[in-house]
Symmetry: D2
Subunit: 135 residues, 4 copies
């Protein structure tokens, strides 16, 4: 299994009148966690798009246990449990500063050849990197 | 079953560099659909909060079939299939201008007594209204 | 002078922990007001982009007199006071449900030929329409 | 003059279909820059609010010279040029990875006693800190 951690500080803009992080904003936190995890594997997602492969989201599900608050530094733990083919599954767990798990999520994305507008295989370099983590 | 439709036009701010509505922004569209559905039932959510009952999100899951684009007028169809107790389940289907279903979602929220910070029953007026739709 | 009004209801996602509309979100409200004003003049901005002319923002300034709150239906009054050349100036005033002016803003945008990546003149149809309003 | 630098990486969610950072999102970047500048001075804004003083925005103006793109690490340079009383003026300059200034901005905020809902003086610790920078 591959795992990676990203720290994200809650911005004022991301809170709502309940004083919580608005539930829709976690999608962005998970995006940041994905991109930083890929970067740690030597994959620059921007360059992947520049080369003609994009990675839209197919499904997204999340369970909220506790809210996050303004200015907290959250830790997003990301897991990849199986080698991607055209699809890649990311699992997430968000922890607050007290190390309490406040939510968990799963996102499935698909590699798309932008020219053909069709699904394609994950980049070989990503596969190789993940194999080195025992996947 | 209770159903309701809300129309939402895609804003420029909500698109991303793929030219699609960013996947995180549907959470806001579904929020708007919920609030307008409740309003159609005579429930003003702002007043509900002012009276001390709030409705945070417990879980959210969505499947994306097709992207939405800038300036499209989307139709969000919302369904309530069972009477809420402390929790309320909303189902959503989003249709584009060609009447193609582009995604579907489920959101579970919980009524919370803000003073006690504990779950509480759904407001009686909501139950009564939903019963009149055969739930 | 050309003027136009757009009504926008404040979404939960747009509030912050102060209970106010986050100051950054007015930029989106003014975007919606611009697009709807252009639409009322027969200009579909999406089609304008599809034809190769885009309209990025050059400057934006705003003064806030009072906050806006969740679920308020705001009225954005938009004014165009002079005929655009390569640049177009929009003036905005936001009113709450009590008809109190809560902020005002000015946005300058520039018409850009996307192929040449250079400023270009405003579309002739926009000029003609605005002339019919005495500009 | 007091100055401070914050680095912010552009998120996918913050881009728009033009491929640029949406103009409204800089307000959030400047918020982050303000909060980190205050933190560097020993002022935790969250605690300031917890103690009953909030800092809403009175005015905001910005000029855009060049766009920012996805995944760029921007440098926000923040300047405070005079001691605050009830109002505090922040000046910002945003630089891209090529060290080109892509925009500049000015934000004026006001210290508000939340209980009295009235303007109040800037916290003494902030004044003292800024004085140590020669203001």
């Amino acid at each position: 299994m591959f795992s990676h951690q990203t720290k994200i500080r809650v911005r004022y803009a991301e809170t709502d009148k309940m004083g919580y992080v608005y539930y829709g904003n976690y999608a962005t936190y998970f995006e940041v966690a994905r991109i930083e995890a890929l970067r740690s594997l030597g994959i620059n997602y921007k360059e992947t798009e520049d080369k003609g492969v994009m990675l839209p989201v197919l499904s997204y599900s999340t369970k909220f246990f506790k809210p996050a608050y303004y200015d907290e530094e959250l830790t997003i733990k990301l897991f990849i449990k199986e080698l991607p083919q055209a699809r890649i599954h990311f699992y997430f767990e968000t922890y607050n500063e007290s190390e309490v798990k406040i939510n968990q999520a799963e996102v499935v994305l698909v590699f798309v050849d932008m020219e053909k507008n069709k699904p394609c295989y994950a980049p070989q370099e990503l596969i190789s990197q993940l194999k080195s983590f025992g996947l």
